[in-house]
Symmetry: C2
Subunit: 162 residues, 2 copies
DNA sequence: ACATTACTATTGAGTACGCAAGCAACTGTA
DNA sequence: TACAGTTGCTTGCGTACTCAATAGTAATGT
């Protein structure tokens, strides 16, 4: 019967709903803490972190957008905010005048270190209070495979080594 | 010598990053399909589904908000849209005149069935193309536990000694 | 050289939220 | 009856995005 749809739950749907709920719950809590403690969103933090890890602490906007899963315009506006606070600056590219590098400033690096001090602890607490280490390994491995199938590798030669 | 924090990756942080990326990737794709096919967001769909499953196809807004993880104002505005399309209607409550039930209309039920026809298939495809059934069970079980710990009264600062 | 195509970044318009404030209605206490 | 506190819902304002359109630059074909 067609109305079956309304009461039946496939394991895929169940997984999807769990994913949405888990994400919403986790990001809401962690984002709120990060905002209160440091005035940064998770995306802000992520951008600062990617820049910190990039060679010469700078990246093209396009690559940044790809890594943090924002659109080009999203990155423009996010960086506007970070520039206003002095955490990142602009830099021209010698070989291609279309590109505008986003460069992490010293203030930005300081801010990132401060934010990391609490944010990483909060993430750890959030997850370790819910899962055993072996479960975390399992979870990360499973979730990490979501993008495989149509996504790119997301390595721009700037990935961390540890 | 930049700080250790910048290069260190705990399994918790890794899990969190995977969660964010997985969610973003999955919802972006599924939401786009749902929007194109039926003009509904995932939240819209979820609300229609919850109403369809509720006794008398109606719920209080507060309870709805809690189930789909929106705030009170978020639910008000989401329902505004669904009311405008005639998929849900308002109904007074006899015993408490503050509450305004959201009721699924026949049009809403029809819409939900139509949307389910494609949406569920797309979710299934998204997940089964990436995971084995046993992995899906594992994933759903793990993710489902995220909210446990403060699921019912999830106000912040709840990191007590429990 | 010049036209065509592709890429990078920004801007304008619009959407989907959240938070804080507010009103109305309920509950408990006396 | 009164009235303080709580709950359900809405509204104003702000934010963080998206998509579509645009301008400027680069690469490619002829």
């Amino acid at each position: 019967m067609t109305s079956q749809v309304l009461s039946e739950q496939s394991i895929s749907v169940e997984s999807f709903v769990s994913l949405v709920r888990a994400y919403t719950h986790a990001t809401r809590e962690l984002n709120a803490q990060l905002t209160v403690d440091h005035g940064l969103t998770i995306s802000d933090y992520e951008v600062l972190l990617r820049l910190a890890r990039a060679p010469e602490r700078r990246m093209r906007r396009v690559d940044l957008a790809q890594q943090v899963l924002l659109t080009a315009s999203g990155i423009t506006r996010l960086l506007d905010g970070l520039e206003k606070h002095g955490y990142v600056a602009r830099a021209a590219c010698d070989s291609d005048r279309r590109v505008v590098y986003a460069v992490l400033t010293d203030d930005g690096a300081t801010k990132l270190r401060e934010a990391s001090a609490t944010h990483v602890v909060q993430i750890e607490h959030y997850f370790t209070s819910r899962y055993e280490p072996s479960e975390l390994t399992e979870l990360a491995a499973l979730l990490g495979r979501i993008e495989i199938g149509d996504a790119l590798d997301c390595t721009e030669g700037a990935e961390d080594s540890a």
